[in-house]
Every structure is written in C-alpha cells, then in structure tokens.
Symmetry: T
Subunit: 68 residues, 12 copies
C-alpha cells in the first residue's frame, strides 16, 4: 500500500525517545494510519548552561487510505 512521509520535530524535557514520541503524538492529531518513523536529527536547547529541551526530528510514514 502506498505511503507518505511527513517530518515533525518533537520536544521533551526528559530525553530523545520521549521527544520522538511527542512528534508522533503531534502527527497523530491530523494524520491517520501512522506506521513507523525514522530519526532524522537529534538536537537540544541549552538555557543557563543546562539542557532545557531535547529535540527529535523524525520522518513519520503513514498509509494512504483507499481512494486517497
């Protein structure tokens, strides 16, 4: 079945896996049939010399529905 991919940046205060999970949570609000993702980039914000936020850019693949 054909799929499409969309790039989403998720953020988290605790780590990269949680940031990727939040990207999926975000994508799930507007896209159905999410199947898997690949990490494209891992970054982090530093505030007052401490890591304040982890960021994961993930490419999320989802099935296209019949007729779409």
């Amino acid at each position: 079945m054909a799929q499409k991919a969309t790039d989403v940046v998720g953020v988290s205060k605790t780590g990269f896996a949680k940031a990727a999970e939040n990207a999926v949570v975000t994508a799930a609000k507007t896209v159905r049939n999410l199947r898997w993702f690949r990490v494209v980039e891992l970054e982090g914000q530093v505030t007052d010399q401490k890591v304040s936020e982890y960021r994961a850019t993930v490419r999320i693949y989802f099935d296209l529905e019949e007729g779409a």
Copy 2:
C-alpha cells in the same frame, strides 16, 4: 515558478520503476502540476524467502499555482 516537494512511497510486485510510477500515481490523486521526482530510497519486502514487493520512496516536486 515556486515548487514544493512531497515524499511518497510507492510499491510494486514487478520492479523499482513500477514502484516509482505508482508513487506518482498516488501523488497525482491529491496534488496537481507534478513535474519530476528523485528516488530517495529503494527497498523490498521479503515473504517466504522471496521478494514479495519492491518499494520506492520518491521525492516528487510540483509547481505551486498562482495565488497559492
């Protein structure tokens, strides 16, 4: 003229060119003015120790319409 790009995964039982063609067919259902594509990744599914499906992830570029 400005263009946008969208990533689509097409599949086929016969080969990579057909898989790429199917990705274009899929994109054509919802996007107008498709112009060209570049292959990003070629993969395949294996079932019962045989290739059961070829997959082509293609980045498809399309013209943006005036006013869009």
Copy 3:
C-alpha cells in the same frame, strides 16, 4: 513546541539568498508561524549559455499551533 517541516523550491534571477527568500514568501501564503529554514540544495537554470534563474530548495520549519 512541536514543529513541522516543509520543502519549498524558490527561484530568483538575482541570487541564492533571494531564491531562498522567495521560497519563504511562497510558504508564508499557506503556512503560519514560520520559524527558520535550512538550505537543502542550490541549483540554477541555464538558457542560451547564461544563468537564467537561481533555485534554492529550502526546508522550512514552522510551529504547530495549540490543538493542531
């Protein structure tokens, strides 16, 4: 805050920076809360043995609105 990325190709007769700027102008017509972009590819069209157009493919990141 979660972000998404979209790839846009901007063109210009004067240079790469202007081409990138035009990609942002194009994206701004349909997407809100643009934040930053990264250049993915720089190309150019040649007509009658002269550069007739500069092209910049940029990946533009934008904030997703609450509830989106």
Copy 4:
C-alpha cells in the same frame, strides 16, 4: 524481535530489480527468516561497450530466532 543485517551483491542480465531479487535468493540459501532489504548501491559491468550485467548491493534484514 531482534534482527541482523547482511550485505549481499546480486547480479542479473535484465535489470536492477532482478539483481536485487537474486541477492535475496542467494541469502535465502543460508539464512532463515528474511524480512526486508534496502538497496545500498546499484552498479553495472560493461563488456564490449555494452551493459553485460546489472549489480545490486542490498542490505538484507532477517529475524533472529528465539534462543539465537
């Protein structure tokens, strides 16, 4: 389930998809539970100024059996 990957070069006189398929056929002789593959490189041999052989280097992933 954990997986391992192995790189195999398959060849064919007719095209890249057949070359990839032959790589899978080769891997299937000694490895069980093949699942999918990704194309790593596409090449070709030229003899007497004509393409005499297509080559596909594919990374084939397979499931590790329980206890393995």
Copy 5:
C-alpha cells in the same frame, strides 16, 4: 588486534538506549569479545497512533581471537 563488525537491530518499549543495549545482548549470544558499537539508525514502530517499539540499528565491533 583485528576486529570485525556486525549490524544488529535491537528493539525496546522504553527508549533508544535500551534498544541499543538489547542489540548488544543479542550479539553477545553468538559473538565473543564485543568491544564497542556505533548507532547507525534509530527508528520506531507506531501502532494505534502510538509508539509501540523503539528500534536501534547498531554496528557492533568485536575482537577476533588469535588464530581466527
């Protein structure tokens, strides 16, 4: 001392580090003298719109024993 490398995909329900650790656990069942690994790819499975599994493809290096 000479080393060899093998690619293993580890999975985990909790995160990327655990997935990488599981890849090492898997490799340790059949290969001795594991030394270090490098992450090649981080992915994830999505089921019912939630991350159901993190995947880490790691390249694991191990010492070859004398005489091997």
Copy 6:
C-alpha cells in the same frame, strides 16, 4: 591500469535499468574501453501527471589506453 570516470545521464521510457543502459550507449560513442558504472542518481520526468521518462545519472569508468 589507470581509469577515468565520466558522468552521463541516460533516459528511457521503460525503466531505470534501460536508462542506465542508454547512458552507457551514449558514452560508448565517444569513449573507448568502458568497464563499469555506478548509479549516482535516479530521477523521472512527470508529464500530464504520469511518468513520461526515467533518468539515470551514472558514473562510467573506462581504462586509459597506453600512452594516453
């Protein structure tokens, strides 16, 4: 024996292997002793929402003749 490499873009209406073969046919008109090629890029043209042409950019290696 020393070799040189030249990049050629071949096109075809039927698929990527044929496009690569056409690139070799083109190179063979002006260069002797072609030995092998590697695919650098696979692309396609889209006309009226259908794939109208496959394109394969291949790097073709050829032996340099004695004294050359």
Copy 7:
C-alpha cells in the same frame, strides 16, 4: 550574533540523552553562552559483553560575546 561550535563527547551509564547532557555540562565549564547542540554520533562501550557506557558526540553552539 555570531556563534562558534565545539565538538564534545559526553558519556553516561544510563543513556544517550544523559550522555549529551554531560557533554553540555563539560562544555559549560570553559565556555559561556551555550545555546544549542546537535548530535553528531552515538556510540557505546561494551565490557564483559554488556553496555558499560553510552557516548554522545555533540556539536555545541555558543554565542560569541561582543568584542570577542
């Protein structure tokens, strides 16, 4: 404002996010105005067939002070 980048390898016994955080902690001892980082490489040490240490190589960007 102009920025510079420095590459630091942080280590941790618990995971990649903590390793990246430790790289930032290390950089913070000698560099002011840290802003963000990007993960360049994720690795791990294996001792007695178990992961003994996670390593994150991060490129950390920091603002250059006026007059610097």
Copy 8:
C-alpha cells in the same frame, strides 16, 4: 535526450551566485547546450584576514547533440 555533467569551479569577488555564474560562463566557452547546474561546494579565499574571493564548485549538465 542524454546529458553529460562537468564540474567547474567559478570565482568571484562579490558572492556565491556570481561565482556560480562565472563557472557557467567558463563552461560555455567550450561546451554547447548547457541546461542547468547544481552547487557541489561553496568556499572562499581569505587574504589579510578578509574574504578575497568566493568560490563555487558547480556540476553543470549539458545536452549531448544528436550523433554525439
């Protein structure tokens, strides 16, 4: 129609777009039917602590004439 590609380094005192344009001007002296180019590398020379020259390495594609 088959194309070939050639790599040219153009230089300029004013910027990257002009450097790329000069590469095309150089290529046009010996090659006909130039069609488009892609930027491969952007560099610059520094003399007396100032940028004295911008350099753009571009891959220029040109149509091969019938019979060529």
Copy 9:
C-alpha cells in the same frame, strides 16, 4: 604547513556571502593567518513570515605559526 580548522556561524541581513564574510570577520578577531573557508550549512531565521537573517556556518582553516 600544518593548519587547524574552526567552525563559526556568521549572520547577515542581506545574504549568504555576507554571512560567510561576517563569520570570517569574527574569526579574525581571535585567530591569525586565516587562509580559506568551506560552507558547512546555510540557514535563515524567519520573523513575521519574512526572512530576518541569513546564517552561514563556515569551517575556517588557518596556518599554525612556527613553534605553535
């Protein structure tokens, strides 16, 4: 003569060449004998849906002085 490289991010309101030039200006304040640079990344900031700043990350190479 041995050289070292340092990564600097320069910014500009007018374009990428000026951003690269500003990176060199910044490096010149603390490092002597700058020789050349390579562009590593081109980015931009977007404010109120318009490009507000171009950014060029450049790797600047400089000669090491005798005895250094």
Copy 10:
C-alpha cells in the same frame, strides 16, 4: 556471480595501506574467494602523544561458491 561483503578492521604500526592489507589477511583466514575491498574509515590510536597504531576499516567483498 553473487557476492557478500564483510567489514573488518585491520591495524598496523606503519600506515593505512598496511592496515588494510592486515584486514584482508585476517579475512582470508575464515573466508574464501576474496575479490576486492573498499576503505570505509581510516583512524589511528595515539599513545603518549604519538601515533601508536593506524586502523583501516575495510568492506571486503568475496564470491559465494556454487551451491552456497
């Protein structure tokens, strides 16, 4: 004929070519029909501020025997 590839790290006190050669020597102990290799990574160990060992990670390709 189908081929497989295996990654081996060879070491040497004299240089990279010797390190690659040692990788081949190591592979030859357990694998037949070695054909060619490609250098994947060149590294070195530093002890007491001096290079104590050169390392070459090479991907070695070998023919698979009939029936294998």
Copy 11:
C-alpha cells in the same frame, strides 16, 4: 581563476599515496596546470587472498588557461 575537475583512478602495488600519485601522473599526460586533488575513494584488488593492487580515485582540479 576558474578551475575544472576530473576524476581519475590510479593504481599501485605499494600503497594509497602511490596510487594517488599515479592518478596525478596519468592526468598530467593530457591536462595542464594541475593544482590539487582530493581522495574520493580508496579500494584494493585481492588476488589469491592477498592485496594485489591499491586503487585511489581522486578528483584532480586544474586551472583553465586564459581564453579557454
């Protein structure tokens, strides 16, 4: 001054530096004003389970003469 680049594969029985040098020797037979080269790929041939030849693919840059 504008430059062009050409890719040449040099071979040697003693090592990679010699193979690169031979590529330059080969290029010097037909191209003037060679300036510098960059190593693109290092490979080797294996015969009777021993390295029989080192190969260096180098991209050689040369100045274009005035009027060229």
Copy 12:
C-alpha cells in the same frame, strides 16, 4: 571521561599516514591527553604536474582533565 575533538590538517611529502602523524605531532604541542583520531579528508598539492605534498585532515579526540 568526557572528550573534545579538534580538526588539524597535517602535511607530508611521503604519504597520507605521515601527514596524519604530523597532524598529531602538531596537536600534541598545545593539547594534552590525545587519544585517537579519524581521517576526515585526504588531499594533495600538485606542483609542476607532480604531487608535491600530501594533506590529511584529521579529527583528533583528547581527554578533558578533571576540573577542566
């Protein structure tokens, strides 16, 4: 233990390994606790149509001292 990385370009008239060694010698003059390096780029200067100098750009990793 945390590490930092620095990029140094070493040169040599005899080969790439010696060029890398010279980069380490250069780094050792100002940095303590060097541990290992990875080759980032191999290049060469050509003078009077002959290789006059080999260049190795190496990324050298060193341990950060306690308290640093």
